[in-house]
Symmetry: C2
Subunit: 157 residues, 2 copies
DNA sequence: TATTGTTATACTCTATAACTATA
DNA sequence: TATAGTTATAGAGTATAACAATA
């Protein structure tokens, strides 16, 4: 079963080899995803915009600070990004009635459909690339991604 | 051996599941790498700059067009990026004596040391994160990265 | 005429510093 | 005074359109 595709013998790997592979391959994948996201048909969005929409979709009503912290951005940076999303009618920004310093963020209808279409189109693109990959390799890839996530999840979000 | 860490039973994976993991996890890893690269001590460089330095280091004397094609950028974009690297004394840009339309790119001494230091510092950061990861998981991660690379290598250079 | 690159212009992403409004 | 956010400003990264130089 193992060994049908790329996976072969090694069941251990040095820290150094692993770090090298991550540094070499993650940026490669990222660039492909980014360029795909930018030709999503009608409404183009960037990776930071996409990630922001994902966050607001999941945490509807979150504040600007919440979003900035999640994305690892400064408040002015997030404020500018939300400006762009609001001006494109993808996000609604309203003053919190409880604490009038806070801004609450929610997706517009257009924001929801844009997010969903971007996600589906990118998944379809990735799916196309994965069609010719053996299922066993895909399983290794999925496990690898989950391990990758577990490594970065604590520190960098 | 398998199953010591995160890896468990599934040896197959659907295209959809796999695509979802890639789309969710690659950007997460990318952000961590980027933020690390930006605090490399003395000389800060961005991911695109880092990748450009890597390319020029490997293909010393390559032209602007070569670099642009490798990075998937337009010529004006790459021209601007090289402007920045030249002004920071990391890259030398000279007219090719054979074909005077072409610019040949090489690293300066400072470019070489900057690249090496950035690479080592980022690898050290990744290595630190990987210390507590079981070696069996690291092996899966390495295989996963290699599969990831093979998927994107053809299409998106 | 085709290729290689640059300049002009514009928009997004990001930061720091200084500010306003609210608590 | 402390917190939430905006405005001012600046620099990198990216694109398209128009241009110049060379082949």
């Amino acid at each position: 079963m193992w060994g049908r595709g790329i996976l072969r013998e090694n069941v251990q790997s040095s820290v150094e080899e692993c770090a090298r592979e991550i540094l070499d391959d993650v940026p490669l994948a990222m660039r492909a995803i980014r360029s795909q996201l930018r030709k999503n048909g009608a409404i183009e969005i960037s990776i930071p915009q996409f990630r922001t929409l994902v966050f607001i979709n999941r945490r509807s009503g979150a504040s600007l600070s919440d979003a900035a912290e999640h994305m690892g951005l400064t408040l002015p940076s997030m404020s500018a990004m939300i400006d762009g999303l609001v001006s494109r009618n993808l996000v609604m920004r309203r003053t919190d009635s409880q604490d009038r310093r806070r801004m609450t963020l929610t997706l517009t209808e257009r924001g929801r459909t844009t997010l969903q279409r971007a996600r589906e189109s990118t998944l379809a693109y990735l799916g196309g690339l994965l069609e010719s990959t053996p299922a066993a390799d895909r399983a290794v890839l999925v496990k690898g991604m989950q391990i990758l996530k577990s490594i970065f999840a604590e520190r960098s979000v």
